[in-house]
């Protein structure tokens, strides 16, 4: 239900943008919202492969996200599951879909982060809030222990 879509144009070929998104070398250069460093970048960009990225922000906080590549079509499409390590930011699994289209000036990138909050919300309709909450707590506790 809840999703976020961003569209950007980049003055580079789709193959360059695609590799920047799907290789550890590329990810290390841009992942994270401010100029803080990427500490760990791992990527195995094929269907069923996994990625993991840990970054530090300028305020000193560290965040890690990881997931599985659900679909990889070079140089036009990447779909991956997404979860924050430890669940501090958001304990739910969500989905990131990146579509690249060749345009005259380079690449148009359409970036969609979807299924935000959907897991628990969908479940809550079936089980009521208590069931969902218990699951959420169990999940969160497991994440904390890891």
């Amino acid at each position: 239900m809840t999703s976020l879509t961003l569209v950007r144009r980049i003055k580079a070929r789709p193959s360059i943008v695609f590799d920047a998104i799907t290789t550890a070398e590329g990810i290390a250069q841009w992942w994270g919202p401010d100029a803080g460093p990427v500490l760990i970048a791992e990527a195995d960009p094929r269907k069923g492969g996994r990625y993991r990225v840990r970054f530090r922000m300028l305020d000193g906080t560290e965040h890690e996200c990881s997931g599985e590549y659900l679909d990889v079509v070079r140089p036009e499409r990447v779909v991956m599951s997404w979860r924050w390590q430890g669940g501090q930011e958001d304990p739910n699994e969500s989905r990131v879909e990146i579509a690249l289209k060749a345009v005259r000036e380079g690449t148009e990138i359409t970036f969609t982060h979807s299924r935000l909050l959907d897991g628990e919300t969908a479940r809550s309709h079936e089980e009521g809030w208590t069931g969902a909450l218990d699951k959420l707590e169990a999940r969160f506790a497991a994440g904390e222990a890891a």
Partner: protein
């Protein structure tokens, strides 16, 4: 809000009443409760009748249950049920005075939900800026350097 506050300091004061019987560490209750509230807010907003009720309340500062029920082709008990869901999500308050129940909008959960989504937006907007800068730098490199 500065980007340094991303994922931090935006968690509002917790309402722990639902969780006080549980034994997990306070921070856990805090976070779980925050997620629970977000879940409730989004779940409450899924229903078009409930959104219409909120829209009505946005136009007036307050309304009676009867006034709120008037535009809908559903029976009063159904409207009351929707109002309960909205109240549980903290999106409205109900005040009883004599026989009249006055309903008011409570915008805080909506703001919280928007703040939650906007943190993701800031994360990706910032990352995409850097991605663009990096890819454009790579594109500008002499071709000979590429494999």
């Amino acid at each position: 809000m500065s980007s340094g506050e991303l994922f931090r300091n935006t968690i509002p004061q917790p309402n722990l009443t639902r969780l006080t019987t549980r034994r997990e560490a306070p921070i856990l209750s805090y976070m779980v409760n925050y997620q629970q509230r977000l879940d409730r807010t989004f779940a409450a907003l899924v229903d078009p009748t409930r959104r219409a009720i909120l829209a009505q309340l946005e136009r007036k500062s307050s309304a009676s249950v009867g006034e709120l029920a008037q535009p809908f082709a559903i029976k009063l008990p159904a409207v009351l049920k929707h109002l309960s869901v909205l109240a549980d999500a903290g999106l409205i308050t109900r005040t009883k005075s004599g026989r009249t129940v006055t309903v008011r909008l409570r915008p805080q959960p909506m703001r919280e939900a928007m703040a939650w989504l906007s943190r993701y937006e800031r994360f990706w907007a910032g990352s995409l800026d850097r991605l663009a800068a990096y890819a454009e730098r790579k594109e500008a490199e002499p071709r000979g350097k590429e494999k």
